[in-house]
């Protein structure tokens, strides 16, 4: 049968059997709306949680944490955790699907910070400051305005003995065991969006400080603060003399450590060597593996395990499994609605075929094949499914907008609160329509087969 003829038959049916078909289509619309709404919600939440809070396409690997060092260990020192060598970094970079392997070197000494008068009105400080170092090349593509994320001693200033010998904002970078140093620009520091969110939504309200906000981070860019090396509230470094250096906020970076500050690698190496010895400077404390998808991360985990490395944080995997489970459950509910709608379609079409036996027989008499009759019924069901599915998509989108509106008004601010809890990628629209048409056609499958098997002679004689 020609497509034009099929569409003529379907159009006529949609007109004359409107009532029954609308009832059938209603179920399909409800099922599609539920399916698309739940999937969009899952995708939206997944995008926020796994894209920004716990990225699923990256994992940080580190040597196994050492057990309790015991009293003796505390007294004589445990020697620090083993590091990750360049060879392991290269090995991990060879794993299929891995996009980059970013080595990190954590501060191996106590430190604290103080500053922020320019944005908070008065200096605020942390009694303990965590930090690490990364290769500046890893931030290629990110813009920090006029501030270069590189070791300031790449271009050292004049020799100096103390900060008084340097023009502000420079300071005298003089290791504690050196007789003289060199004037240095403040060390560029990167922070993560995660830290900004935590500060804005938790720390700032608790201390009556104004939130920085991602858009206001620009204001903080260039702000300098004092960084105390080798000493913090918890104690002093075992070697080297505590001293104060200047640091400058360069900006927010995806490469920055979640809780702490990230500096150029060579700066951290230099300071680790000064306060914790050569062993703490020559290898890396962890590597961040970024991959094209979660399965490649799985391969990297296996390779890391072979290299004696373990994941620093498995929350991404846990959250991913949780979201996938919840999405599967909600999709199952939606699928049940669709199955019920399909059985409703089946009933409607069974009645339709029974009522139209004579009409089907007549069409058979004037040249229709059994396959034509089957195509007619399946086409009609698919059309009902598509119309119902389209209505379901509109309902799902409207419900999502309503939910977002209510969430924006009623839910309190929390870290990473998204503007929308839903994601509607193009494939979801197509899948919604496709499932609607598929379930409707599945419902009509047996009635359509019956239509194709109507005995024309018997039907036309009324028996």
């Amino acid at each position: 049968m020609r497509l034009g003829a099929l569409s003529t038959l379907i159009r006529r049916d949609l007109r004359r059997t409107r009532g029954a078909l609308v009832t059938s289509g209603f179920g399909i619309a409800a099922g599609t709306a539920a399916l698309v709404f739940f999937l969009a919600l899952g995708l939206g939440v997944r995008a926020v949680l796994l894209g920004e809070v716990f990225p699923i396409d990256q994992i940080e690997l580190e040597p196994p944490k050492q057990g309790d060092p015991g009293l003796l260990g505390l007294l004589v020192g445990s020697g620090g955790p083993p590091g990750i060598g360049e060879g392991s970094v290269r090995d991990l970079a060879m794993v299929p699907g891995v996009l980059s392997v970013d080595p990190r070197l954590r501060f191996a000494f106590p430190s604290s910070g103080r500053g922020g008068k320019e944005i908070f009105g008065h200096d605020v400080g942390t009694s303990e400051l965590l930090g690490d170092g990364i290769e500046p090349s890893l931030t290629r593509g990110e813009s920090f305005g006029s501030i270069a994320f590189e070791d300031p001693l790449t271009h050292p200033g004049a020799a100096c003995a103390d900060d008084g010998g340097c023009a502000a904002p420079q300071y005298c970078e003089r290791p504690s065991d050196a007789a003289a140093g060199a004037c240095s620009d403040p060390v560029p520091v990167l922070v993560s969006r995660y830290l900004v969110e935590i500060f804005d939504k938790s720390i700032a309200p608790a201390h009556g400080l104004p939130p920085i906000g991602e858009t206001l981070v620009g204001r903080a860019q260039g702000v300098t603060f004092a960084l105390r090396l080798g000493e913090s509230l918890l104690g002093r470094a075992k070697s080297g003399e505590p001293r104060t250096v200047r640091a400058r906020v360069a900006g927010v970076s995806r490469r920055a450590v979640d809780l702490g500050i990230t500096l150029p690698l060579s700066v951290v190496r230099r300071w680790n060597r000064e306060y914790a010895g050569a062993g703490a400077a020559d290898s890396f404390s962890s590597v961040v593996v970024r991959a094209k998808d979660a399965s490649a991360i799985g391969l990297a985990l296996e390779r890391g395990k072979a290299l004696g490395l373990e994941p620093h944080d498995t929350r991404a995997r846990d959250v991913s499994v949780l979201i996938t489970g919840v999405m599967a459950l909600l999709s199952l509910v939606a699928a049940v609605i669709l199955v019920v709608s399909a059985s409703n379609i089946a009933y409607t079409f069974r009645v339709l075929v029974s009522e139209r036996r004579a009409e089907i027989a007549l069409y058979r008499a004037v040249g229709a094949t059994g396959a034509d009759m089957r195509a007619w019924m399946l086409g009609l069901a698919a059309a009902v499914g598509l119309v119902g599915g389209a209505a379901g998509l509109v309902i799902a989108r409207a419900l999502a907008l309503l939910t977002d509106e209510i969430a924006a008004r009623k839910l309190p601010d929390f870290p990473f609160k998204p503007a929308s809890f839903f994601a509607f990628p193009p494939w979801l629209w197509a899948a919604g329509l496709g499932f609607a048409a598929l379930f409707a056609a599945l419902g009509a499958f047996r009635p359509a087969r019956r239509a194709s098997r109507v005995e024309p002679a018997a039907a036309l004689s009324g028996s």
Binding site: M1, L362, R364, P456, S461
Partner: protein
């Protein structure tokens, strides 16, 4: 055109079998107007359904347009029915949700490559005197008018053979007479080959040949 040999059709299950047709030999040549006469239950409609390929559950041999009917698949048989055979039924079988013109055009839905048949449909409605009722639903027509619409529908694709099942059975005498006259005209002017099963003598009188069926068998040869 049609060669049927030893046609046999059984109804019922093994305990109560009944032969609707019992060894019928029958033939139709191009240009024939054959009336198959017989009382109710004699097997006339069964014979017509088998000849038109609407009922394939029979025994015996049936050749139509040079092809053994049983050898044709569903699609081939549907094509043959659509292109070469027209059907006229006692109950008209018009579709009440369609207009008169759309009823006449119903076979065109399944006519691949037949082109636009709308002009022919209008010409046929003009021929049967109903062109001015083309947009009306069949429910607004009288019995005779409905049968004329079904005749136009049967002729849409210029069939080689028209099979009529009690075409005047639901009509009063005067209207029935007019339909018989129309068949006679179509047979003479359009050189149509017609096979009509009926229990009415007036239709038989218009035919060029009559065959009588009784209890599923040809009764006393042809006339």
């Amino acid at each position: 055109m049609i060669r049927a040999t030893g046609l046999r059709k059984l109804y019922g299950d093994a305990r109560a079998r009944r032969a609707a047709l019992d060894g019928v030999d029958f033939s139709v040549e191009p240009g024939d107007f054959v009336a198959v006469l017989g009382p109710s239950g004699s097997g006339k409609s069964t014979l017509l359904a088998i000849l038109g390929g609407l009922d394939r559950d029979y025994e015996g041999r049936l050749e139509i347009f040079g092809s053994e009917l049983r050898g044709l698949g569903d699609a081939a048989l549907a094509r043959l029915r659509g292109a070469r055979i027209g059907f006229i039924f006692q109950a008209f079988h018009l579709l009440s949700h369609l207009s008169v013109i759309d009823n006449v055009l119903a076979p065109s839905l399944f006519a691949e490559g037949a082109g636009d048949l709308r002009l022919r449909a209008l010409a046929l409605l003009d021929r049967v005197g109903l062109v001015d009722r083309r947009d009306d639903p069949p429910t607004e027509l009288s019995g005779g008018q409905r049968q004329r619409v079904s005749i136009a529908r049967a002729l849409l694709r210029k069939p080689d053979l028209v099979l009529c099942d009690e075409p005047t059975g639901n009509l009063d005498a005067e209207t029935g007479e007019r339909i018989v006259d129309l068949f006679r005209e179509l047979h003479v002017e359009e050189k149509l080959t017609l096979v009509a099963v009926t229990h009415e003598e007036r239709l038989a009188r218009a035919a060029t040949r009559t065959v009588r069926l009784r209890a599923g068998k040809i009764d006393g040869g042809e006339a």
